[in-house]
C-alpha cells in the first residue's frame, strides 16, 4: 500500500488554482524528485503534503500508519532569524517534539535519537555551537538532522542544496541517498538539479501546475518531456563545475 496517495488534487491560493488534477503515490523506500520550473507549484505541493495547506479539491491520503506529525521536513528557505541564540543540539532535539504529544519533556530516548542523527550527519562535534555562527552547509546539515529526528518514514526536502558549494552539495546528496537506502525512509525532494535527480531518485514527478510526468526515473529518461528537460538542464551543471574548480 502507498505511504502517501494523492488522488486528483488541486491546490489554490485565495481562489487562484496553482496546482490542478494531480495524482501520484509515494511508497515506502521511494526516492521521489519533484522537478519543474520556478513557480510551477513545487513548494505549494510540499506544503500540502505536510498539512500546512489543505487542497482545494481532492484528498491527500496517508496510509501505512503514517500520521501527519510523523513527517520530517526541510523548508526551502528557513525563516529562522539570523540572531537566534540556540545551540545545534537544541535545534536537532526540537525535531523530536512531534512525537511528544502533550507530554512536556524530552526523554532519554529522544536525546539519544538526536545524538544518533547528529552522528549520522557528522555534526556531533558542533553540538554545543551556536546555530547562528554556522556556515550555510553546516546549517543545512543541522536542519536535516532535525528533520530526521521528526520521522522514521517520510522526509520532505524543498531545494535543500540552495546556496551550497558544489562539493558540499555532492556530499549532501550522498547523505540523503544513504538515509534513503539504509533507513528505508521515503524521500521527497524538490530539486532544480536535474542531473543529480535522475541519478539518485527512483521516481520523478515533473510538475507544471499539473503532472507533466510521473513515474520511474527509467521511464522519465525515455519520455519526451524528460529528454528535453534533461538536455536543457545540462548547461547549468557545467557552469557549476567551473565554479567548483576555481574554489579548490
Amino acid at each position: 500500500m502507498a505511504l502517501v496517495q494523492c488522488d486528483n488534487i488541486s491546490i489554490a491560493y485565495e481562489g487562484q488554482t496553482v496546482v490542478y488534477d494531480l495524482s501520484f503515490e509515494i511508497h515506502q523506500g521511494d526516492y521521489l524528485c519533484i522537478v519543474g520550473e520556478n513557480g510551477s507549484g513545487k513548494s505549494t505541493l510540499v506544503k500540502s503534503l505536510i498539512g500546512l495547506k489543505s487542497p482545494s479539491k481532492g484528498k491527500i491520503i496517508l496510509n501505512d500508519g503514517l500520521r501527519q506529525n510523523e513527517i520530517g521536513y526541510l523548508p526551502q528557505q528557513n525563516d529562522v532569524q539570523k540572531d537566534f541564540p540556540a545551540s545545534v543540539y537544541e535545534v536537532v532535539l526540537s525535531g523530536r517534539l512531534n512525537s511528544r504529544g502533550f507530554r512536556p519533556f524530552y526523554t532519554a530516548g529522544d536525546k539519544k535519537a538526536a545524538k544518533e542523527n547528529m552522528q549520522l550527519l557528522g555534526i556531533e562535534r558542533l553540538g554545543k555551537n551556536c546555530f547562528r555562527d554556522l556556515s550555510g552547509g553546516q546549517k543545512q546539515r543541522v536542519l536535516l538532522a532535525r528533520a530526521l529526528c521528526a520521522t522514521k518514514k517520510l522526509l520532505l526536502l524543498d531545494e535543500p542544496v540552495t546556496g551550497l558549494d558544489p562539493i558540499v552539495t555532492a556530499e549532501f546528496y550522498q547523505l540523503i541517498k544513504e538515509v534513503n537506502e539504509k533507513s528505508k525512509i521515503a524521500v521527497v525532494m524538490v530539486s532544480h538539479d536535474i542531473e543529480s535527480a535522475v541519478r539518485d531518485a527512483s521516481h520523478i514527478l515533473h510538475l507544471q501546475e499539473t503532472a507533466l510526468f510521473f513515474g520511474t526515473t527509467e521511464d522519465y529518461r525515455k519520455s519526451p518531456v524528460g529528454r528535453q528537460f534533461i538536455k536543457s538542464g545540462q548547461i547549468q551543471p557545467e557552469a557549476e563545475k567551473t565554479a567548483g574548480g576555481e574554489r579548490s
Partner: protein
C-alpha cells in the same frame, strides 16, 4: 548594610513589593525572550497602554483594578496577535493605533472623574506602595500559574520561537502556543503594571532578553540568564527606589540599562578575543 536591608524589609509594603516584583520579573524575563525573538516586543508596549486605560476605567467605576484590567488586557493581547499576523494592516501601525486609543480613553475617563492626581502619576511611573495585600495574594497565584505553564510548554515554546513553519509542519499547533504566549504576557503586564508604571513595564520584558543575548549562545542559557538578571535588577532597582525615594519603575529600568551596557561591553571584548585568537 545588613542592618539597612533588615530595616527595609520590616515594612510590610516593601515585603509585598519584593514578593510580587520578583515573581513578575521572572515571568516577564521568560516571556520576553520569546517576544523579542519573534519580533513581538511592541505587543508588550501596546498591552501596557491598554492596561492604563483599563485601570482608569476601573478607578472610575470603583471596581477592583486587577479584576477589570486582566480580562481587558487578555482580550487585547489576543486581538493584537491576530492583527499583527494578518497582512491587511501593518502590525506595528495597528499596535500603535490600539495602544494610543486605549491611552486616550483612559485619560478622558480620568479627567472626567477624579482628574489628574497623584494616582494617575503613579499609574504612569509606578510606585512601590502600589500593592495592597489582596493584590499580593492574587498576583502570587497568577504568576505561579504563568511560570508553571511556561515551564510545562518550554520545549514547544522553543520550537515555535525558533521556526514556526517547521513546528507547524510537524504537528505543533503554533497558533495555540502563540496565543498562550500572548495571554501569559497580558497577565504578567497587568500584575507588574502598577508597581513598574504603565509607561515602563514593557522594559521588564525587553531588557533582560536583549541583555542576555549579548553573551549567551544557547536558548536555555538565554532563558536562565534573563530570569536571574531580571530578578537581580529588580531587587537593586527597588532598593534604590526605597533609599532615594525615586519612582520604582524608573529605578528598575535604569539598573537594567546599566546591566545592558555592562553585558554589551563584555560581549564586545569576547568577540575581540575570538578574532585575535
Amino acid at each position: 548594610m545588613i542592618h539597612t536591608i533588615v530595616e527595609m524589609l520590616s515594612y510590610p509594603f516593601m515585603v509585598r513589593a519584593f514578593t510580587v516584583g520578583i515573581l513578575v520579573s521572572l515571568c516577564s524575563a521568560l516571556l520576553g525572550v520569546s517576544l523579542v525573538l519573534k519580533r513581538y516586543s511592541m505587543i508588550g508596549d501596546g498591552l501596557s497602554h491598554v492596561g492604563f486605560g483599563a485601570l482608569a476605567v476601573a478607578a472610575a467605576l470603583n471596581a477592583a483594578p486587577l479584576a477589570v484590567a486582566i480580562p481587558v488586557v487578555v482580550v487585547a493581547a489576543v486581538l493584537l496577535l491576530r492583527v499583527s499576523d494578518s497582512s491587511k494592516m501593518k502590525g506595528d501601525a495597528a499596535i500603535a493605533l490600539i495602544s494610543t486609543s486605549a491611552l486616550a480613553v483612559g485619560v478622558m475617563v480620568i479627567s472626567m472623574t477624579t482628574g489628574m492626581n497623584t494616582d494617575v502619576y503613579n499609574y504612569m511611573f509606578g510606585s512601590i506602595l502600589a500593592m495592597s495585600s489582596e493584590d499580593v495574594e492574587m498576583s502570587v497565584m497568577l504568576s505561579v500559574i504563568v511560570l508553571a505553564l511556561y515551564i510545562f510548554f518550554y520545549n514547544k515554546i522553543f520550537a515555535i520561537t525558533f521556526d514556526e513553519t517547521f513546528a507547524q509542519a510537524t504537528g505543533v499547533r503554533a497558533n495555540l502556543y502563540n496565543t498562550l504566549i500572548a495571554v501569559l504576557t497580558a497577565v504578567t503586564i497587568v500584575l507588574g503594571m502598577r508597581m513598574m508604571g504603565t509607561l515602563l513595564i514593557s522594559s521588564l520584558i525587553i531588557f533582560p532578553a536583549l541583555t542576555s543575548m549579548r553573551i549567551c549562545k544557547t536558548f536555555r542559557s538565554v532563558i536562565l540568564n534573563s530570569a536571574i538578571l531580571s530578578v537581580v535588577c529588580f531587587c537593586i532597582g527597588i532598593s534604590v527606589s526605597y533609599f532615594f525615594a525615586t519612582p520604582a519603575g524608573a529605578s528598575v529600568v535604569v539598573v537594567n540599562l546599566a546591566m545592558l551596557a555592562v553585558y554589551t561591553i563584555i560581549g564586545l571584548i569576547k568577540e575581540k578575543r575570538k578574532i585575535c585568537r
